[in-house]
């Protein structure tokens, strides 16, 4: 789950990473409740989870006297389509230089990689493309508690070594917060020292339970309900609902739909050993999505009982058509149940997808 800037900065503070003085407001009026000034100029930052927030109008630098009016302006804006519900009001830092640092996962090397660039504040993908030499990277074994000095010297060649402790603290944040990504862009030097001017943290969904996060905000309501049922679920925009077991098989079903010229409405992986109720919940959930004309149920596995699955489909009793492909225990019983209630059961993935695509195009 992606944390918002102010949430990430709260965590940074706990780990000794300096961040600008500031506070969060949920309406322009709240600015007046914070009499202690942040200086002559302040920065108003929309707390929305989008990339390129500054360019999209999500950041306003203003004279403190006009902070309230500008905050009202910011609250009225939509930043890349997202409403502004919270604004971070911060002191304006007297920035001397901007740098980039992030820590993320290198899947191939199976360890964290630390990326540093002496040009911060810009799109890091641009830096990587246009001046790859400006990007330093070191890999650190996850069994190490701190970044060794030689790695730090390599990262910080030719730049102030005062950045070192902040980068090491960011590595501690990355480990302790179960982060998939910890990023400071820009990391800045000022006449008062080093600051994290922005903050980005993505926390591993599998570790939310021990990070004190109860609700995964990144999900839509339906996705959250799906999560409660134990489904992996992603909403798309087509007319063919998809229910499968296993991420790979479900993804592959989506691919076949697109290969045959159809468009999938969703991705739903019911998980292993799905019984009557799970299947029923899955079918109903997908049928509620607007625009779904037909649902493919493609389940395969040694322990999936086809009669249970068939009962679940019948129990769901939805108005849309359901095209079923089942392979597993009690296949013929499942086929009987489906046939009796007028549902289609097909033998292969190709057949079930072709059928659904042609039905959806009617």
């Amino acid at each position: 789950m992606k944390l918002l800037e102010f949430e990430a900065k709260d965590i940074f503070r706990k780990f000794g990473i300096p961040v600008g003085k500031g506070f969060v407001i949920t309406s322009p009026d709240e600015i007046d409740k914070h009499p202690d000034g942040l200086g002559d100029e302040v920065v108003l930052k929309a707390q929305v989870d989008v990339g390129g927030r500054g360019k999209a109008g999500g950041v306003i630098i203003t004279d403190s006297k006009y902070a309230r009016e500008n905050a009202a302006l910011l609250f009225s804006r939509k930043i890349k389509g997202i409403s502004v519900e919270k604004v971070l009001v911060e002191e304006k830092l007297a920035i001397e230089n901007e740098y980039y640092v992030s820590i993320t996962l290198d899947r191939a090397k199976k360890m964290p990689v630390i990326l540093f660039s002496a040009t911060g504040g810009v799109d890091i993908e641009e830096t990587a493309k246009n001046s790859p030499d400006a990007l330093q990277r070191v890999w650190i074994t996850p069994l190490m508690h701190d970044i060794p000095s030689f790695m730090m010297r390599r990262l910080l060649k030719g730049v102030p070594k005062e950045l070192g402790p902040v980068i090491n603290s960011l590595y501690r944040v990355y480990c302790e917060s179960d982060a998939l990504l910890a990023e400071i862009n820009p990391l800045v030097t000022t006449n008062k020292g080093v600051y994290a001017a922005d903050a980005k943290l993505i926390v591993d969904d599998n570790a939310l339970f021990r990070q004190g996060i109860e609700v995964n905000r990144d999900l839509t309501d339906r996705e959250r309900r799906a999560e409660k049922f134990g489904f992996s679920y992603v909403e798309l925009e087509g007319s063919i609902g998809v229910i499968g077991n296993g991420a790979g098989l479900t993804m592959s079903t989506l691919d076949l739909i697109s290969l045959y010229g159809g468009r999938a409405a969703n991705f739903l992986d019911v998980g292993g050993g799905a019984g009557e109720d799970r299947v029923c919940n899955a079918v109903r959930l997908v049928s509620e999505m607007p625009g779904v004309k037909i649902i493919i149920v493609n389940l395969l596995g040694g322990i999936t009982r086809c009669d249970e699955v068939a009962k679940g489909i019948v129990k769901a009793g939805i108005s849309q058509k359901v095209a079923v492909r089942l392979a597993g225990t009690n296949e013929s019983e499942g086929r009987e149940i489906l046939k009796k209630h007028g549902y289609m059961m097909l033998d292969t993935m190709d057949e079930v997808v072709l059928y659904a695509v042609s039905e959806a195009s009617l």
Binding site: D178, D204, D255
Partner: protein, 288 residues
């Protein structure tokens, strides 16, 4: 047979949970069918002294290994504790851990896989269906009725999609040497390269089906590694790009983890890429 044979003795960590108990039974039924040892001991902290389907349960890996001579473990321990259990196995001399568990926090997996490597222990998974050498050994949860012994190795990042492909191969009369599900998590122990290295040394395996997914560049790395004939299939061509990981991850992956560019790179390496699972038997037969 690249991870053991009939003579392989297995312990199961997380033996007393629903999944553990259920699959101890299935693994041992298969062992009986092929004349192997199967699961000789289970481990669940605090549940020592019980029996699960006739298999004795111990409090720790150490205690299980005092009574039984095994070097292979299959792990069903829940996500939050699984990293610790992998390290426990490695510390006590287990040489292969097959980690079935889903939802292991990434940082735990990273630490556990690193530590296991230091101890000389290979890890398959986490979040994988395990491995099956038809007629010899089943480690994990793969259904056995879809497969037949033969010469084609199968490596996959996903579970059921593997069964789909194995089913297609079997229906076409093509048997399998060993089927390995390496797992779908961002951090996994055995990668395509590790498994291919074993297939190269395995006289039974004449060709390999490699089933990949979007994200990372492990498929290309694997496919360019081996001289064995390979047919690949990559799932996720239609996956929406906005569901990918943040920017920095994409840079590490070379900016191109998506299926379309992955397929382009594989084809540039001269690797056959199937458009759909049902094409695989025809393509693999050409290589044999």
């Amino acid at each position: 047979m690249i991870y053991g044979d009939k003579k392989t003795k297995v312990i199961v960590q997380g033996a007393t949970g629903n999944q553990g108990a259920f699959h101890i039974n299935l693994m041992n039924r298969y062992a009986e069918e092929v004349g192997g040892y199967g699961v000789v001991a289970g481990v669940t902290p605090g549940k020592g002294g019980r029996e699960i389907h006739g298999v004795p349960v111990y409090d720790s890996v150490r205690e299980a290994l005092l009574e039984h001579d095994a070097a292979t473990s299959v792990l069903f321990v829940p996500g939050g504790a699984a990293g610790d259990s992998i390290m426990e196995a490695a510390y006590n001399g287990i040489e292969l851990v097959v980690a079935i568990t889903e939802h292991i926090p990434v940082h735990d997996a990273m630490r556990a896989v690193s530590y296991a490597q230091l101890e000389g222990c290979s890890v398959i998974g986490p979040n994988c269906p395990g491995t099956l050498s038809p007629g010899e050994l089943k480690l994990g949860i793969m259904p056995v009725n879809l497969s037949v012994p033969g010469n084609v190795g199968v490596i996959s990042r996903s579970g059921t999609l593997t069964y789909e492909v194995v089913n297609e191969l079997t229906r076409a009369g093509i048997g399998q040497s060993t089927i390995v599900g390496i797992g779908g998590d961002p951090i996994i122990g055995q990668t395509f390269v590790d498994v291919l290295e074993r297939f190269e040394k395995d006289s039974q395996t004449k060709a390999v089906v490699l089933i990949g997914e979007v994200g990372g560049n492990l498929e290309e790395e694997g496919a360019s590694y081996t001289d064995l004939p390979i047919v690949t299939y990559i799932a996720g061509v239609s996956a929406p790009p906005e569901k990918r990981m943040g920017h920095a991850g994409a840079i590490v992956a070379g900016g191109e983890g998506d299926a379309a560019s992955k397929i382009r790179r594989l084809e540039a390496l001269g690797i056959t890429v199937a458009q759909k699972p049902s094409e695989i038997p025809r393509l693999i037969r050409k290589t044999l």
